[in-house]
Amino acid sequence: MPQEKLELVILPLVPPVAAAKGRSPFSIARRRFTANRLAVVALCVIVALYLVAIFAPLLAPYDPSAIEDVMKTRYLPPSWAHPFGADEFGRDLLSRALYGARVSLSVGLLAMLVAVFVGTTYGAIAGYAGGFVDNLLMRVVDVVIAFPKFFLMLILVGIFEANIGALILILGLTSWTDTARLVRGEILSLKKREFVEGARAIGLPHRLILFRHLIPNAMASVLVSATLMVGGLIGAEAGLSFLGIGVRPPTPSWGNMVSAGQDALLVAWWIAFFPGCLLALTILCFNLLADGLRDALDPKTLMRRYV
């Protein structure tokens, strides 16, 4: 750490040309990110998890829904042949967990994209327009925020009997408010800066000022909150599936596997144990990654080190 500090202190003294070489804000951020070992490990685990999910059909030792000789394989404890054991129908739980990863990981990521897209657009419009429009739009956000988020998801998913596509939409459309508030705040402060004034002075239309100059500058903090959000959404999907209204059996998801495991807790602890471990690991990695990104991207701590 002290070495890095030294470099950063010298930075402003380096002539602009030298500073341009590999000392861009991006490369500073990358260096600070890679210095945080925990965050790098988290990123690697996340990438590995997604690769495993993508290649689940190649990696899974058994067919996740194959029920062969139930009497022989029912409630088999973990062993080399079945590392995660087998469930009440004798299905291999490792294979089910791998296929469950596809559901859990893709729902989290796609719902985040929906939320970030809606939230960024909404917040940017509110912040840029200001005045009455801003006031009205933010009152709507106040109303949505007043619902406990999980409660709202529960009602929507339950009532519409959502399939996976609809589940993604519902999770995304209940989670955009934080991003909207964040982006609005950023835009409000950014739009008073000189470069925006300059853009306006050369006659750029609002649309371009907003999408080319303002929103890209707000993206650093959106990235951090989006990373946190993926973890939260994976947890939310798992919770809904645990209640039996998110992803429904026989499609495996980590959440509904834990639910099946609770029913069989007295005879087979492993059914609930392993999918929950995977859930916790995934969510933890997204939280660690978000922490690392925040430290690497936070302009405030960057400035503090210059001074």
Partner: protein, 330 residues
Amino acid sequence: MGWYVVKRLLQAIPLLIGIASITFFIVHLAPGDPMDVYLEERYRREVDPQVIELIRKKYGLDQPLPVQYVKWIGNLARGDLGESFRYRRPVASLIAERIPYTLQLTLLALLLDALVGISLGITSAVKQYSTTDKVVTLGSLVLYSIPGFWLAVMLVLVFSVNLGWLPTSQTRSLDYELLSTSGKIADRLGHLVLPVFVLGVASAAGTARYMRNQLLEVLSEEYVLAARARGLPETSVILKHALRNALIPIVTLYGLALPFLLGGAVLIEKVFAWPGMGLLAVEAIGARDYPIILATSMMAAVLVVLGNLLADIAYALVDPRVSFDATRKA
């Protein structure tokens, strides 16, 4: 002060109307016919269509949506939440039965959160970069990341199934009525341990992290430096000068913790078959019991609005820099 509270209450009214409207339209735009639930699908064919029309009329389901909406808002304003399709009882009394159980869980969890979260946060900040600090920081992130419902199932496995120390579910044992008074209290408390712990520990982890950052920020302020320069003992610098200021934002955090806890309570109530509002809502969704779904989500939102209001008032009370007259946004 009184004026400030009144003003904040008035500000909450449009918010509540907005909440009521959103819930109403969500529920009524949904597919599926509530009559199927009311009559249980298998009997539906055998029932005379005229009877079905009569029942529809009784619940006002034959009227156009806007009319139903205005009626619903009107009833709501009078505290009438309608009648449950499934239980054939007024929703208000059902909710009144269930809410104490949810409040028991959430308030005790909040207490646990405050005790554990704040003290861990302080320890961690005071000993910044020490091993304790690292353990608390990483440990709280880990706890924060573990899904509560899974933690609950695992704790039941360890403490109820394997060790047999604590009950697996419900609010009291089957032989509850036969117990002595002290036995009854012990029984109720025993049933509370696991759900409250699981619900409180995740939010305590969040609080600890937040508390640590707040205190660290305050510790770099000049008035802390001044206090140290005057030679005050470190404990009084931390507890008297720094902590008071660091605690102020925590008050707001607790206003925000409520939706988090209520959401979490749904899952925890399901795991422990705890007869609170969350379980009521989950059951109602399965049964398409519209009046209950509407009422529980309304109640949840009202509790959140109330929590924010209390947090705002508390904020104004603890922070002398906030004046009651100034218009301040939550």
